[in-house]
Structures are given as structure tokens and as C-alpha cells.
Amino acid sequence: MIGNRTRTTLEACYLLLMLGFIYLPVVILVLFSFQAGNLPVPPFDGPSLRWYREVFENDRLLDALANSLVVAGASGLAATVLGFLAAYSLSRHRVRFIGAVRFMLIAPVTVSYLIIGMGLLITFNVVGVNKSLWAICLGHTIMNLPLSFAIIFSQMSDSHKDIDAAAHDLGANDLQTILFVAVPMMKAPLFASFFLAATLSWDEFIIAFLLSRFDTTLPVIIFEMLRAGLTPEVNAVGTLVFLISMGLVMAVAAVLVFRKEK
């Protein structure tokens, strides 16, 4: 039998140990992004902003950064619009084969990204579509659609239907009802869907890797940089990528919290 005191101590140790395990690589990554020398390994000889300067002078990285932002924005927007329309339709209108329809919309989430990427790569190859940023956008949209749909659909309630009807009675046409009534009611889930989809697209590697050639996104460029071995430049760009991801996640959290307070 161990005493209560000992038990609490052991549990606190385990907690700290796990936090250490979880944060170890992140701390090392950030620390050695400030390395002055050529290798991101001990001894630490910084702090220096040398490698951040290198990143901002590296056109390939900057292009990839811009590409990543464009792909994340475009596929996030596309998935949110498609997801919203589908959710709107299913919540307002009785659909036959609703089970099959929902399955179809959710199905892409049940297979690995690798499979989605391979399917698109082979299909584009057979049909004769070239690898490009657009191909990545198409792939990321199908990857994010289930999530966007699920987030938005879960937030639609029956009362929305009556509000639609009221708008109609007051003389709004269909398009006006969607744009000025249905969309504003769903502001929070729409933002959450957009930022979450953008975050996933921003991080995604394998689909981008398979569907692009020269013009590509940041994770693919970082992966290619790794072939040259360890360099603090990857630490610097990795730290920046982490910060942007955090920013996007915070945006989702902020939207959800804001919603609760209302």
C-alpha cells in the first residue's frame, strides 16, 4: 500500500514527465532556430537571427509560403462553401436516401490522405490533367469537405427553418434568404470550418507532394530541404510554420469562445 502523499507525488511526476516528452522536440526546434553556427545540434552558440534572415532571403521558401497560404485559403473557402450549401439543403429540405447522401459526404474522411492523393494522381494521369497548385487545391478541398460539412451541419437547428420562412413572408427571395438570413445565423460555424480546413491544408504533406511538381507548398519544400541534412534554416522555417498553425487554431478557438459568450 502506498500512502496518499506518495501517490500524488508519483502522479505529479508522471504528468511532468509526459509534458516534458511532448514538449521536448518543440523546445529543441525553437531553441536551435536561434543557433549561430551551421548545425542545429549542441553546443548552442546563439542566440542569433542569422537563419531567420536566411529564410527571408530564400525565394524558394517565400514562394512556397505564399503558395501554402493561397492553397489553404482557397481550399478552406471551397470546402466551407460546398459544406454550407449541402448542410443548408439537408436541414431545410427532406431528401430521399438521406443516409446514402450523408455517407457520400463523410466518406473521404474514412480513408488515408495517401489513398485520396493516389486516387487523384492516377486519375489526373489517366485523364491528362497536369500537376499544379490547382490540383493540390482540388485534393485539399475533398480532404476538408467532410469536416466542413459536419461542423456546419451540426450547428443547424430546426428553428432556422422558421426564420427562413419569416424572411420569405417578408418578401425576401431565395438568394436573399440564404445570403442575408441563413449565412449570418451561421457565422461562427462558418468561420470555424474555414479556419480548421485552412489549418489542415496548411499542414498537409502527402496530397501536395503527389499532385505538384515545381510550384508547391511549404511542407513539401521543407521535406526536400531535409535531404541536405540537418540545418538551422529548417528550424527557423519550422518555427514560423508552427506559429502560423497556432494562429489559425487560436482563430478557431476564438470564434468558438466568442460564440459561447453570445
Partner: protein, 294 residues
């Protein structure tokens, strides 16, 4: 109030099926069909095609399938993948369960959310960067080896990076965060008085855990373990960066087919095998997978 609700809902039902509401479903359906169902069907067809002199020929033969299962290195890749995935899943659950348990029952309530958030935060370090960070820790001149050599525990750096252990470690790091989240959320749903009742009825703490807490937390474990399995077995980055050339897992074998020889029919066969494997595991777990309960 009730009457008003009834009136409006019956009118809403009778009234309009806005045509636009009916049509709004189709863009997403068409998109899913075009970019998910069609690619899957194409991949299925191409898996029967043949590659001759660098070109694909539309044939209907099972050659690719028989070749897959007769090549040792491809079957090995499948076997390696299964092993790494099973190790990863078991180790992650064993590490994450106590963490989730401590968080749910031992940490004061007001701190729980904050610590949980802190625990899952690095989940959002980009995938490629996360694996790379472990390389910094495990490399011959990395943190661990530098420390060991300086202290004098070892004369030569240990080989930690580019091994199966490194791959599993990278995965376990990632999924510990995920599993902590899913297990925690099923643990806090267990009513506290269940445990009280068990001990009032004379159960020891261990019995309470084995017969009350553990069974009730199975949904969280199952969902987390399933996600771990699916993502691990389909991941290319972690074994590629951390495992190096120590062994080939199935996603690496697929990418090799595409990059080295543009052998799409073979890559299609391997992707389908991977998909069938995942489906089987899904059916196996199906009974416990109540995703919406979390």
C-alpha cells in the same frame, strides 16, 4: 408558445421546399463524386492494367495482384507496416491512459482544461517539422547522444535515429496527444458516484478501476486507437524521415513505385490493399466506435 410553434412548423413544412434549398445539395455531392468516388473507381480499374514499355495498357488481368503477393519485399513492407502500427497503437494507449486518468480524476477541476490544452498544443506543429524535430533529438550528434557522451555514459554515440524505434517514437509522440484527448473525454463522462457506489459495496480501488472505470472508458480508447491505427498505417512522412533506410513500410513502397518507375497499376494495387486492411480494422472496431459520444 406551443401553439405558435406548431403553427409555424406545420406551415414551414407545408409551405416551401425552396427550389434553391433542393439544388444546394448538389455541388457538394457532385464534388464528392468527381474527386472521391471517380478517383477510387479509376484506381480500381487501373489496378488491373498493365505497364509495358513505359506505357499503361488498359487490360483486365490479375498480374499486379499476383506480383504483389509474390514479391517478398512488398509483402515484407505490409508486414512491417502492420508491426509498426500495432506497436505504436499499444504503446500510445499505455502511455496516454494514465495521463488521461490523472487529468480527469486527480487534477483539480479548474486546472484540467488548461493542462489538457497544454498537452495537445504541439499537435499543431506541422507534420514534417515534428518528425524533423525528433531527428534533432535522436541524431548521432543530437541532444541525447551529446548528453550521454559528455556525462561519459557511452564512448560512441548510440544509433537512435534512422531506426524502427525512431519511427515508433515519432508516432507515439503524436498519438499520445490525440489519445489523451479521446480517453480524457470518455473518462470525465463517467458519473463520479459510480466509483463511490463501487467502493461502498466493498470493491477495492483496483477492482473499481477494473470493473467500473476501465469498461466505461472503452469508447474513448477505441476511437483513439482506431484513429491511431488508420493514420499510422497510411503515413509516409514519419517512417521516411525518422526510419531512414532501415526498412520500407507500405506507404514508402507505394511512393517508391510512383517515383522510381511511375508504375501506377502496382501503386494502385498497393493502395487498395492498404484500404482493405483499414476497412477490416474498422469493421473489427465498429462495435465500439461511437464517435458522436465523445
Amino acid at each position: 408558445m406551443l401553439a405558435a410553434d406548431d403553427a409555424s412548423s406545420s406551415r414551414g413544412g407545408l409551405l416551401r421546399n425552396l427550389p434553391i434549398a433542393r439544388l444546394a445539395l448538389y455541388p457538394a455531392l457532385a464534388y464528392s463524386f468527381l474527386f472521391f468516388v471517380v478517383p477510387f473507381l479509376v484506381m480500381f480499374c487501373v489496378s488491373f492494367w498493365q505497364r509495358t514499355r513505359g506505357r499503361m495498357e488498359a487490360t483486365w488481368v490479375l498480374d499486379n495482384y499476383t506480383r504483389f503477393f509474390s514479391r517478398d519485399y512488398l509483402v515484407d513492407a505490409l508486414y512491417n507496416s502492420a508491426e509498426v502500427t500495432v506497436f505504436t497503437t499499444i504503446i500510445s494507449v499505455m502511455i496516454a491512459y494514465p495521463l488521461a486518468y490523472i487529468l480527469a480524476f486527480r487534477v483539480p477541476q479548474k486546472w484540467q482544461k488548461l493542462i489538457l490544452l497544454t498537452t495537445v498544443l504541439p499537435f499543431w506543429t506541422a507534420y514534417v517539422v515534428r518528425s524533423y524535430s525528433w531527428l534533432l533529438v535522436l541524431a548521432d550528434n543530437g541532444i541525447i547522444n551529446s548528453a550521454l557522451v559528455r556525462v561519459g555514459l557511452v564512448a560512441e554515440p548510440l544509433t537512435l535515429a534512422y531506426t524502427r524505434g525512431a519511427t515508433v517514437l515519432g508516432f507515439v509522440h503524436f498519438f499520445t496527444m490525440l489519445l489523451t484527448l479521446t480517453i480524457y473525454s470518455s473518462l470525465i463522462q463517467i458519473p463520479r458516484n459510480f466509483k463511490q457506489a463501487a467502493s461502498d459495496l466493498g470493491a477495492s480501488p483496483l477492482q473499481t478501476f477494473l470493473h467500473v472505470t476501465l469498461p466505461l472508458s472503452v469508447p474513448g480508447v477505441a476511437v483513439g486507437a482506431f484513429l491511431t491505427f488508420v493514420i499510422t498505417i497510411g503515413d509516409y512522412i514519419t517512417p521516411q524521415i525518422l526510419g531512414g533506410n532501415s526498412e520500407v513500410l507500405i506507404p514508402q513502397a507505394i511512393i517508391l513505385q510512383v517515383q522510381r518507375s511511375a508504375n501506377f497499376p502496382m501503386a494502385a494495387v498497393m493502395s487498395l490493399v492498404l484500404m482493405v486492411l483499414v476497412t477490416c480494422v474498422y469493421l473489427l472496431f465498429n462495435r465500439h466506435l461511437k464517435m458522436d459520444r465523445l
